[in-house]
Each structure stands twice: as C-alpha cells, then as structure tokens.
C-alpha cells in the first residue's frame, strides 16, 4: 500500500488530535514511554494505560513473576527460531489505520485473494479499511445487533471494556480454566494481554445469532496477546466465531492467545475458528507463530464443541481442550489443519474425563503439502472417577507430494476400567488415479484437488456455521494452490 499521500507528519497530527477511544478507558501515556522489551514496569504501564483496577494489575504482575521462573517448552515436533522476548513491543501503539477512498487503492494481490475467497465487496472494503458508503452503514448494523443482545441480557464486548464494566464477572472467572501458571505462553499472555472478547450468556438464554469478532471492532488492532473469556450460564447456548478467512498480514510475529470457555450446567458452547495468519514467504522466511492455549470446562450435562480450520501461520501450536468435569458432559473437537510450503503445525486436543458418563469425540484431519510438517497430538485422559467414559477419535492425514510429513502422537491415559476408547487413523496420498479420474470428467487439476481435499475434510467443515463453511471451503482451495507437483 502506498503511503505517498499520508506522511509521518500527518500520522503524528492524527494521533495527537485523537481524544476519545471507543470506550474511553485509556489514559494519556505517551508512546515514547513504551520501549520494547518486558519488565514489571511495562506490565504496570499496560495495566495503567487500560485504566485497570488494582486486582487486575496484581494479577498480571503475579503472572509475569511466574513467567520469569518458567522455561520455554521444546517438546513439540516443530522447529523455529525462538522469539527474543526482550525484542518485542508489548504494547502496540494504536496506529490509526489509514482510511482509503476506494478499493483501487488496495494492494491488487490482496484484492485477488479476497475475490478468490468469495468475500463480498462490502466486506472487502471493511477489511481494507475503505470508507464505507452511506448505503452500507456498518454502524447501524452493529447497533441493531447490540440492541438485540442487550435485550436478552447477553454481554458481549472487548475484555478491556468488560474489566471496566463487569469487573466482578471477569474477576470471578478469569484464569479459572487456564491458570496463569499453566504454561509458558499462558503466563506471558496473562501478564501482557492487550485485548480479546468477553462474553456472558445468562441462564436459559439461547443466543439468537452467531457472535463473531466482526462486531467487536478492535481499534487497537494488535491481536498479539488476545485473551478471550466466554461464560455460558446454566442452560444457555452460544455459537461463537473467531477469525476470518481473509489473509491477515501482521508485523507481529508472535501470537500467544488464551481462550477460556465455561459451560455451566446444561449449557452448550460452540466455538469455531478459522485461522489464516501470514504463513511466511515462499522460502519459509517470516510468518506468524500462533501459540495458543484454549481450554473449556463443561459442568453437568453441558457440551462444548471446538471446530477449527487452520491454514495460516508459519507455526501453529495449539490444543483446544475440554475438561469434562460434570456428569454426562460432552466434549468435541473437529479440526482441519493445512500446512503448505514450509509451514509447521503441532495441534490436537486434550479431552479430560472426570465426571461420570462423559463423552468425547475427536475428528482431526491433517493435510500436508509442499515441504511442510503436520502433527496431530492428542490426549484422552480418563480419571479414576470417570465411570462410563466414552471416546471416539479419528485422525486422518492426507499427503500431497513427496516432501511433506504427517505425524500422529496419540496419548491415551485410562484409569477407569469401564472406559470405552476407540481410535482410528488413516494416512493417504492424493492419488494420481483420483486426479486423473476427475480430469477425465472435465475437472481441471486445481479444482480436482479442491474437490478431493474438501471431501476429505467434509466431516469437519460440516460442523461450521453455514456462511463460515462456504468461506472455509474456498480457503482450503486457495491455501493449497500451487501444491500440485
């Protein structure tokens, strides 16, 4: 994107004249006071800038102190240059995103990708920060949406805003599913998280629409250390969508998010993620490190379902998990992870059965192409208390070409004799015969691969909310472009 019209002077002027941020909870610390690197001082500054209450600042500091004692984990089957933690800016200056006048000013490569993904013109404009026409009024759409939610008592806002407006709720639940000492990256996130979503669904309420981050416009735009907390009170239901198919170019290499879900008695949470962060260039240089801790607790008769489509990032390292605490609780994990070029993924899930008659389902599809490596790592743990636990796991790998790798690391830890655990795994290569069969029917190579890959991933894609599923299918096609030998 050309910056010839908008100069540094313009930027400085804009920033200094910016008086009110969307939710008015920032203070006036100058950006020069935020040197790179991490220290207690920086953690305090982050907290102060967000006008957080004392308990929140303390919480962050405790996490930071614990983090200092921890060592970076190295057990995953991935190889990457370790981030230099003192060379990262932990508080991104809120750069006012340049508003463009029309799509003509947007990088044509980006536009081409948008078109391939079938993203509507209105959405393309929003994603590229093109000024919206009066006809497409995004503000009124957002307002209607928020009104509907508040009528039902549903709280959905940025976590920063929630800390201000609903401190008791946040304080009660934050860190209860993923404690700040859980792991190296969770500790880091707990100390420096910048934003994320907070959602609370009251008892018995069925959220009438898919909640997505689209409606929580994040002006601060860093996305580096996001923290999401989603609470579904007794008997409630919510479907949440995270991410978008549009390629997200980000200068921040490290993304260490934490997502905590709490499904109380009889509640159901459906959490879908589509991730397409920058995967690095054709030589495997650069690209986002996506190190995420996601975990849910399901109480009695509750259900949590994780669905993910991971196609981006140089390195993806995450295990969305379910703690099946309550009797009859259900946990599900559906995943399609694509790696191409030099990408690496070490992903899977942990299903921990604690209550009685708990059930978990794991369907993992890994697709490797190029020189990439795709690892499934899963744990099915049945505690001695988990009478009548049932698990079904299916891990399928699809290899495209001869230079990629797929590995499966299933861990099964059973301490109760009544458990029934089934595990199936297949590995296949896209056969030339399959491709020729499609070709002979008039389907060209690219479309044939898309067809075969989508067929392979169908069980997972079928779990996504419909519009997301359409985009996700196109995304699979786009991410495997050029992978035919």
């Amino acid at each position: 994107m050309s910056n010839t019209k908008y100069t540094e002077d313009d930027l400085r002027e804009d920033l200094s004249s910016q008086k009110e941020y969307e939710f008015g909870f920032t203070t006036d610390i100058e950006y020069e006071d935020f040197p790179i690197g991490l220290s207690e001082d920086i953690v305090r500054k982050i907290s102060k800038r967000k006008n957080e209450p004392e308990w929140m600042t303390e919480w962050r500091l405790e996490a930071y102190r614990e983090w200092l004692k921890m060592e970076e984990p190295t057990w995953a089957n991935i190889h990457y240059e370790k981030p230099d933690f003192q060379n990262i800016s932990y508080y991104a200056a809120p750069v006012q995103k340049k508003v463009l006048n029309s799509l003509d000013e947007v990088d044509p490569e980006l536009l081409k990708t948008f078109q391939k993904l079938g993203i509507s013109v209105a959405e393309q404009k929003r994603l590229s920060n093109v000024a919206m026409d009066i006809v497409v009024d995004s503000i009124s759409v957002k307002t209607t949406f928020q009104e509907t939610l508040s009528d039902l008592g549903i709280i959905f806002m940025s976590i920063s805003e929630a800390i201000q407006k609903h401190p008791d709720l946040v304080r009660k639940y934050i860190g209860k599913v993923v404690p700040k000492t859980d792991n190296f990256y969770a500790a880091l996130n707990s100390a420096v998280f910048s934003d994320g979503s907070f959602c609370y669904i009251p008892k018995g309420v069925r959220c009438p629409m898919e909640l997505s981050t689209y409606f929580r416009i994040n002006k601060e735009g860093s996305g580096q250390f996001e923290r999401t907390l989603l609470i579904a009170d007794e008997g409630s239901y919510v479907s949440y969508l995270e991410g978008c198919t549009a390629p997200a170019r980000d200068e921040n290499q490290l993304h260490a998010a934490v997502v905590e879900l709490i499904a109380m008695e009889g509640a159901e949470i459906k959490y879908s993620t589509v991730q397409n962060w920058y995967p690095g260039d054709s030589e495997g240089v650069g690209g986002v490190f996506n190190f995420v801790t996601k975990r849910a607790v399901a109480e009695r008769n509750a259900k949590v379902s994780w669905t993910q489509v991971e196609t981006g990032s140089a390195v993806t390292w995450k295990y969305p998990s379910c703690i099946l605490k309550g009797d009859n609780s259900i946990g599900e994990f559906y995943s399609v992870a694509v790696t191409n070029g030099y990408q690496q993924a070490d992903t899977g899930t942990k299903m921990i059965h604690i209550g009685k008659n708990t059930k978990s389902t794991i369907i993992s599809k890994g697709i490797s192409a190029g020189k990439s490596h795709n690892n499934y790592r899963g744990l099915v743990k049945v505690n001695s208390s988990a009478q009548g636990a049932r698990n079904f796991s299916q891990c399928d790998s699809l290899l495209m070409g001869n230079e990629c790798g797929a590995h499966t690391f299933p861990y099964i830890d059973i301490k109760n004799k009544s458990a029934q655990v089934e595990h199936e795994a297949t590995t296949s290569k896209i056969g030339e015969d399959q491709l020729f069969y499609c070709n002979q029917r008039g389907i060209d190579m690219e479309k044939a691969i898309a067809l075969i890959v989508n067929g392979f991933s169908r069980e997972v894609l079928d779990q996504l909310p419909m519009e997301f599923a359409v985009e996700a299918r196109k995304l699979l096609e786009v991410s495997l472009e050029g992978s035919v030998g």
Binding site: G431, E432, D433, Q434, F436, Y437, C438, N439, Q440, R441, G442, I443, D444, M445, K447, L451, I452, N454, G455, F456, S457, R458, E459
Partner: protein
Amino acid sequence: MLTIKNLHAQIEDGTEILHGVDLNIKAGEVHAIMGPNGSGKSTLSAVIAGKEDYEVTQGEMEFEGEDIMELSPDKRAHKGIFLSFQYPVEIPGVSVTNFIKTAINETRKANGQSDMGASEMLKLIRGNAEKLGIRKDFLSRSLNEGFSGGEKKRNEVFQMMMLDPKLAILDETDSGLDIDALRVVADGVNAFKNEGNAVLLITHYQRLLDYIVPDFVHVLHEGKIIKSGDKNLAKELEERGYDWVIEEAAAKV
C-alpha cells in the same frame, strides 16, 4: 469423429505398449475392441483419454478434425470424450451428486455456458438414475466408496448419461456384472447412442456384444489391431478363441 493413425505409445520405463494402432470411428457407430490380456486394450483407452503415464512416440490422433495430442485430459473431456473406467477410484467425502454436478458445470464453463440450473440438474439426475435402477440414497454416498464392482460400473454409465459425451469409451464395463446388471447397463448405453455420438467398447467377452450390438469389431494383439470385422467376428472369436486370428496375422507378415 475419432481418427487414430499409427499410434505408438510407451510407459515410463520405455516399454512400448502400442505398436502402431489405426482406428477410425465415425458418428453413429459402435466399435468393439477385443483381445487377450495384456494386448494393450486399457492402454489404448487411457491414451485416448490423455493419461500422462503414457508417452506417445509416433502417430496422430484427431477428434472431430482437431489434433488432440497436446490437450490435457480435462480439455479432452470438454471436447466430448468420456472414459468409463475399468477400476473406478474412490473419492471419500465427495458425494455422487456433488461430483457429477461439478463435472457438468466445469465442462459447461469451459464451453462458455453458465452453470446448469438446480431444478434442471435434479430432473436430469432423477431421470437417469431411474433408467439405471439407481436408488436415491445411493446418490448421496461418497463416490465409489464401498461400492460393489457392479455398482461402480453402473455409476460410470450414470455419469456417461449425465455428461452426454460425443465419444463414450467403455473399458471392460461388463466385467463384474451379473446378467441383470448387464442388461440394465446395456439398456442405458443403447438409449444413449444416437446418430450424433459414438461408442467404443473394450471387452474380453462376447456376452456384452449380444446386448450392445457393434458395427465394427477389432482384435487387438500386442499393441496392434490385427483384424477387423463386423459383429460376426465377435461370435467367431467366442467359438474359436484368439489363436486363429493371431496365426492368420502372423502368416500375413
């Protein structure tokens, strides 16, 4: 419609399989190619369809007056060439309906047409499925996954009827079919053929040719057509085997 002159084709390691095949198929005709195992029958159909495992080293191949040697398999399909496979592969997760819909629309797109309308597509699917005795629930199954041999062959003919090609090459379509299934498939092919299209049957056995009567029968032996005749040739082969034809051809040389 299809003109093949002196076609020589080899596999990757250099072994030549087709040693100069000549074949001329006109619209409205049904041709049958018979021959012992290893004669190169399936290779011939694969080469016509454009499978890249085979390299054509000599000869010409024209379809509707156009040289198709340089065309990729999908482009040849767009021109109207259809191959019913001897061993159809499975494509898990892709339903029969979804597959054929994609095939039809990709071909239409290549020929400058818009996608077929949903109701028209549905009517076509139902009609052809009924003609072949294919049940509705079958259509939503993953392509060829868990299908019996007979079901796979029937599905191939179903696709042929849906795509309505100019030249339909049926590679050993009768193998693995019981009498009833054979009759159903033959009826489908007979209903399909007309003055504008052509059928090339590749088969071991006479039996199929009782149901789909050929205009021309050719015997393929060691990569060359050594004898051509009409439907009576097939009957004679059934009675006497292939040896007499091979000897006769050897004597000529």
